[in-house]
Symmetry: none
Subunit: 71 residues, 2 copies
């Protein structure tokens, strides 16, 4: 099974589409969000699991940081 050759950081556009998608379809609807913004996410070959991971990262409380609701 092939691993990705290298890590591809998410772009600001990808992050914005993910957050808009969560507003539109709800948390956990990764496949729906991926399809709705497929033109954006296909560029870097993102999967529904990638979107789940990005959301987890965007919403997690960083060390020594106050919690702020994200969506």
């Amino acid at each position: 099974k092939m691993r990705r050759a290298k890590r591809i950081p998410f772009t600001e556009v990808e992050k914005e589409c993910l957050l808009k998608g969560v507003k539109k379809f709800g948390v956990g609807s990764w496949a729906k969000i991926l399809d709705h913004y497929r033109d954006v996410f296909q560029v870097n070959d993102r999967s529904n699991v990638n979107l789940k991971d990005l959301y987890r990262n965007l919403t997690k409380v960083k060390a020594g940081e106050e919690w702020v609701p994200r969506i």
Copy 2:
């Protein structure tokens, strides 16, 4: 999170096991290598991340040094 009390240089045995492990399991299979040679790496409490860092140091091109394939 606890920082290590002191820096522990890698032994020659540790370096040999790492390079053998890379031949056996491939670059990036740090957890597998750690487990296969656990008797060696447990001595100084090495982690999979430690092995990744060691490999990076062993294979990196030093200043003013010609590049030589390492594995």
